[in-house]
């Protein structure tokens, strides 16, 4: 999973590319550390090039959502491929994270 973060003040535009699974979840967690800091973050995860997420990936997104909630911020995921969106739908995670 390749992670590119563009930060302007408290606004983060994040481009996710590739697959997120147990083999790279630890690295992903390190890559998004910057998103876990600061008040009122406004984070957009661009998922148009994200191919797949496993349960481990869902846990990472859940952890990020909880952290953002605790800091009074906003998190949205956008432009998901159908196969990725399906993972969120069938696990009930579409109800946890805002997907546009």
């Amino acid at each position: 999973m390749d992670v590119k973060i563009n930060k302007v003040d408290n606004k983060f535009d994040v481009i996710l590319t590739g697959r997120l699974d147990t083999t790279n979840a630890d690295q992903f967690q390190k890559d998004i550390e910057i998103l876990m800091e600061g008040e009122n973050p406004d984070i957009t995860l661009d998922c148009k090039d994200m191919e797949y997420t496993s349960s481990q990936g869902l846990r990472m997104f859940l952890m990020l959502q909880k952290s953002v909630n605790a800091r009074g911020g906003k998190l949205v995921m956008k432009d998901m491929k159908p196969q990725v969106k399906e993972v969120f739908d069938i696990t009930g995670f579409s109800n946890i994270i805002k997907i546009i």
């Binding site: 349960s55 109800n95 997907i99």
Partner: protein, 367 residues
């Protein structure tokens, strides 16, 4: 001594001087008192409209001394240099606040006054409870500043409506000695009567609502769902019973998945849009659709290695099954997702995908 003594006589000027040198003490007292009251409100789960305080300004004190300085021997005779005001929503809460203030501070009963009880049967006007207090050493003690415990301060307690009236009355200029014509005074006092009535009505309505809540909660607790309308209050009580946990656990067991608990209150509007009006109807949907809601989940996640689900999955699949069972179209299913997750193009795709799965599974037998 500053040049400006506001034209006060020697006695009043000395009190003003004392005030200037004691200002830091009053500011310190303000912090102590506000923290003590604020903590006490939190500990007792009391929400108030406002908690405010001020240390009287020099010019305001000078004005007061000019008018009635002869009444005071020394600065400590003035009890309102530090003033605190607690404004409540309901009239019965004023007494609760008063009890907390009594518990926290030493009360100078001789100078405290309950203006609510001062009115004759046929008169209306200023309604507020004023306590004159001292900070007890149990709250704060500093041998270098014993005045913190000897200076008195005033706590005013009243409802929001009483506060509005008091401000309006103040705005008329009574403090400046301006004499208000009798007819206007009568209008103001008549308004005080109306607000007193409104305060009582607010309290009465709150008591009725709380009674209703208790009654509904009892019905929910007794699983007497048919008589319980579906609304925010009742749905919350219903969710406290974890009505979907059996289905969720069954779905989670498909992949030995962990369940991420979620507050399901956001299902209230979608359920209403589906036409549910009582908790009894929601219960019947659960009884009728659980089997297929589970089958749908088996089909969806059984072929994956996903081992985490949210606790929304059971109710979501119940609603999907219910819509299909009642001849709902793709459009209606997409509308359900619109109300659940917010409008999005994804919702149509999700609805189409589910219908494909249903056809593949021959879940039409749901119907």
């Amino acid at each position: 001594m500053p040049d400006d003594n506001y034209g006060l006589d020697l006695h009043c000027s000395m009190i003003l001087d004392d005030y200037r040198s004691s200002l830091a003490v009053f500011e310190q007292m303000k912090g102590i008192v506000m923290e003590a009251i604020s903590n006490s409100l939190n500990e007792n789960n009391l929400v108030v409209t406002a908690l405010e305080s001020r240390v009287k300004t020099e010019s305001s004190l000078a004005g007061k001394l000019a008018l009635k300085g002869h009444k005071y021997r020394e600065l400590s005779d003035l009890t309102d240099i530090l003033g605190v005001r607690v404004i409540t929503f309901y009239s019965d809460e004023v007494d609760k606040i008063a009890a907390l203030i009594q518990e926290k501070f030493d009360i100078d009963w001789e100078n405290s006054v309950d203006k609510r009880k001062q009115h004759a049967l046929e008169s209306f006007g200023y309604m507020s409870l004023h306590y004159i207090c001292r900070i007890p050493e149990s709250i704060y003690k500093d041998p270098a500043h014993p005045e913190v415990n000897t200076f008195r301060f005033e706590v005013q307690m009243r409802t929001a409506l009483q506060h509005v009236w008091a401000n309006m009355y103040h705005d008329t200029g009574y403090k400046s000695g301006f004499e208000i014509p009798h007819e206007h005074l009568r209008s103001l006092n008549r308004l005080a009567g109306v607000l007193e009535l409104a305060d009582d009505e607010f309290s009465r309505i709150r008591i009725q609502i709380n009674d209703y809540r208790r009654k509904v909660q009892a019905l929910v607790k007794d699983n007497d769902f048919d008589d319980v309308p579906l609304n925010g209050d009742t749905f919350k009580s219903y969710l406290d019973l974890n009505p979907f946990s059996t289905l969720n656990k069954k779905i989670a067991a498909i992949n030995q998945a962990e369940i991420q608990e979620l507050n399901l209150m956001f299902f209230l509007e979608p359920l209403k849009k589906l036409g549910f009006t009582t908790l009894g109807e929601v219960e019947r949907m659960k009884a009728e659709c659980s089997e297929y809601a589970y089958k749908l989940a088996v089909h969806q996640i059984g072929k994956t290695d996903l081992d985490i689900v949210s606790s929304a999955i059971g109710l979501q699949n119940l609603c999907i099954t219910y819509i299909i069972k009642h001849e709902g179209s793709i459009k209606e299913l997409a509308y359900f997702f619109d109300t659940l997750n917010g409008p999005s193009d994804y919702n149509r795709q999700q609805a189409e995908r589910i219908y494909q799965q249903v056809n593949k599974l021959r879940l039409q037998s749901i119907k």
